[in-house]
Symmetry: C2
Subunit: 372 residues, 2 copies
Amino acid sequence: MLTLTTPIEMQRPPVLRFGAGTLSSFAGWVADSGFKAPFVIADSVNAARLELLGLGDVRCFGDVVPEPDIPNLNAAVIAAKGADLIIGFGGGSAMDLAKLVAVLAGQDMAFGDISGPHRAPARTVGLVQIPTTAGTGSEVGTRALVTDPETMNKVATESLNMLADVAIIDPDLTVSMPAFVTAATGVDAMAHCTEAYTSKRSHPIIDAYALQGIELVGKYLRRAVDDGSDVEARNGLALASLYGGVCLGPVNTTSGHAVSYPLGTRHKIAHGIANALIFPHTLAANAASVPEKTAKICAALGFEAGSDQAVLAGARAFCEGLGLDMSLRAYGVPEDDLAAMASEAHAIRRLLDWNPVDLSVADIEAIYKAAY
Amino acid sequence: MLTLTTPIEMQRPPVLRFGAGTLSSFAGWVADSGFKAPFVIADSVNAARLELLGLGDVRCFGDVVPEPDIPNLNAAVIAAKGADLIIGFGGGSAMDLAKLVAVLAGQDMAFGDISGPHRAPARTVGLVQIPTTAGTGSEVGTRALVTDPETMNKVATESLNMLADVAIIDPDLTVSMPAFVTAATGVDAMAHCTEAYTSKRSHPIIDAYALQGIELVGKYLRRAVDDGSDVEARNGLALASLYGGVCLGPVNTTSGHAVSYPLGTRHKIAHGIANALIFPHTLAANAASVPEKTAKICAALGFEAGSDQAVLAGARAFCEGLGLDMSLRAYGVPEDDLAAMASEAHAIRRLLDWNPVDLSVADIEAIYKAAY
């Protein structure tokens, strides 16, 4: 845990437009900024509603897949040739690919030349992020994750050059999300906040965003799941997602995300679901080392902390209350893969090194078994 | 009072470096960014310690005056000819002038061509803000105030083009501030937060920054006044100042600043002192219309709200506890100017229109008399 006197660098798009209806300002911004060749990076769902952007017949790569891999990125880069403005329009996958496409556009470089920290070149094109889910917070960040199909690892690339010029966070775009996706993405936002809040490198400045984000999820996620048209709840979750994104930059996640990654990379479980499956277990595993913060997290989500078992049960009940099936088995994970998954998760040192307690391979395998 | 569902635009430099010692990274940033001709805008105190910037023999306009006027700006613009990076190094006056110099640099334009909202052209030079006080929050904003000597009014100019590329907030720079300046600037930061928090257009997203800023001032200002070398307190106040700056953009101040402006423009009372002199009176005048928020402000500053008179007495005692003389008389304001001052303050509609209660010219004159 860091203190107020520990220096911190905070990066965020210089302009955030937040609120229902703010997307209507986008076409004017594109025109005022002088961009002539906007290009959209989207998943198939959002590629089918490009008219919402107000840009007329805009070019688009609409084949972003969940948990995108390097070939998916490469296809997007080729499609975007000639663009002067890249627009990420979707969830974390689309926005992450948009960041990478934006720094690769107009450069004679491949992903391998820019992957990792601080290698991406200055952008020659503009970048706008427009989230359509409320979960990843990718719209305010400098980081993108793509899976290397050879190793099955998520490769994190990070650069200030991947920061958007503008993020437009219009919660109206999230109203059409099914309850299941609302629940999963909302848990993802909460997990970003929770893990940053309890990280070894948590910082009081970021803690304030984290706790607000968790409180927003506690207040609004169930409401949005129960009634997708609840605009106030959709606003609250969009803000929680943004705050989760703010937490990712200087602090980042820890064990919750590390332990859930193999569920995505190896078994194609959606990122938010994977986080929900693991979250109660890592919250409980960390509770003894960060008791005060764990108590605040539990209170914000509407249950009392108490023993590790109480934390686990409360967090599990919170997720089940959102309609999520909380067993790995239900998502088709083969039981004989748990040991390999644990080894893979344990190797994600960039996250696990900051977890408040050290988790061994055996600890992680025990979590998978308990979650099975 | 706005709600979470009211759209909001938030602008902030994409990079904030916050914390003691962060200034040491500045020279490297200048070199990495390829700037060849940095130019510093500073008051005389900071112009005498340019070596802290680590830029060697850097060019500087070191004649920024408190409450700068248009001639002061014009002199800075002429001096900065040929610069490719403008560095604001000082309090709000230096940083405000730096914003204006940065948008005027390389343009065939005068202040009259860019003053007011959204007229400043795109910058052709870089802009970095390095605050040396903890009060104005100017480092994170898009607004600059200069006094028109003909009308004695403060002219507000605002543009996204006036936003810094990087703000470096190094509380070590504030350690040498005398107790008197520490107190005055700390009250200014608190006033930004308080007035935004109680504004008619207060917004829940900004309220969270405002209340944190007030709490930080309540916790740390007296400590920093009593012991200027208290690094934790200096960090806390630097953060409060930054949060105050965040409040200014989308919400801004109300009656506290409007009523205090004539003290600066007509009688050269330092901005923070002027705010302190007026703050207890406007807090009390507004209390009945925003009772819950007033109670939170008072609690954050360490006293109980109660009646309007109790609010006034508590806020006054808070300021006196910082060593500030709280009578207009003590600062040489002539009593026969109060009526003219009230007319002038009342005309500042861009602020007063958002005050939670309507204050007449007579109300404002009564405040001056009570503060006399």
